[in-house]
Amino acid sequence: MTEPMLPVPYRVERRTEQTRDTATLRLVPAGPALPRFRPGQFTMLYARGIGEVAISISGDPSTEDGVLEQTVRDVGAVSHALHDAGPGTVLGVRGPFGRGWDVESARGGDVVIVAGGVGLAPLRPVVLAVLADRAAYGRVVLVAGARTPGDFLYRGEFAAWEPSIEVRRTVDQPAAGWTGGVGFVTEPLATVGPFPGRATAFLCGPEPMMRFSAQVLRRRGIPPADIRVSLERNMQCGTALCGHCQLGPLLLCRDGPVVSYAEAEPLLLVREL
């Protein structure tokens, strides 16, 4: 049993550059392992002497030996230290925290996954969970958007995913040799479906992207209650004590970061929140 406020040591076993500013760390327990995570949960990663930030878990949820994969984008002092942490570096880890995507609840229906930029990181466990139990789901579509072809995370994995799920990649700015789509994620999204039966959508990316995408999905017949979004706020304690991550009535470290669009939409339209 681990204390939720006490980081446990994890060692960086491998560091994989994803893009020019994003890297995936494979972390192995250097002591007691944290409890197993569910897709969509996050940890608080602590770079010793520098600080702690919330990072979604991007690894395979079927992993049983406590190993974590976390994809870090270099945006500030703490994430810079984490991003640059090479093999052997020991980091502190707390968690896993938050409600996950609840992928299980989508069984028996179609699945739409919409990822923008680094939003693909928290959704990779969804993709892997679906692939591991592919027969339990109907049509599965992944629409992923990025600024340029070089900004896609997990570029080497798409080929392995594509035989089992439909993958549509689109970029804002194409480069020479790019054979995927050009345009915002809402463009390919408008041509998937309609979904006459039950479908569940998982969205992660910048908030405006999720809002625009949810509107398209609603027009394609998916009700807001079946559209889930992952919301980023200032996570500090991870245990619903400090209040930094408050969004209206929600404390996102506990009640999120994944919430239904039915819950999120009215909150996202309040500027002060």
Binding site: V182, G183, E187, T191
Partner: protein
Amino acid sequence: MSAVDRFTALPPFSRLTPEETALLTRATREVAFAAGERLCEEGRPADRLWVLESGRVEVGTAVPGRGDVVVQTLGPGELLGWSWLVPPHRWDFGARALTTVTAAELDGRLLRELADADPAFGYALTRAMFEVLAHRLRGTRARLLDLYRSGRD
């Protein structure tokens, strides 16, 4: 069911009445393009539109010093071309088939004539086209926001 019939089942055309759909199909024929073939050229008279059934098309423009710049790609179920509806009826962008393309091709001049003769049909057609345009505008504005910008940019 032909490609002509199939595109009328797609939004936004699916909201037209049977009578309006019949007028629309009068102006429609099935076409195919080979990979690399150009569908339209920037600046030339625009007198048609396409609803893609299979394959992919890139929409682009020639930028001095940068060559042909792709602004968007379109695929099955998507509509290509609205310049036929808006004066001066010249293509704003060029389009090229990236793969073999099959499509329903609609005669823009005939559609304008039909719309002038039957304002109710004209309104329904314009509303359908406006829906597509509004969707494209939202997507374009979202791209202008540069939402995926990196902390290093």
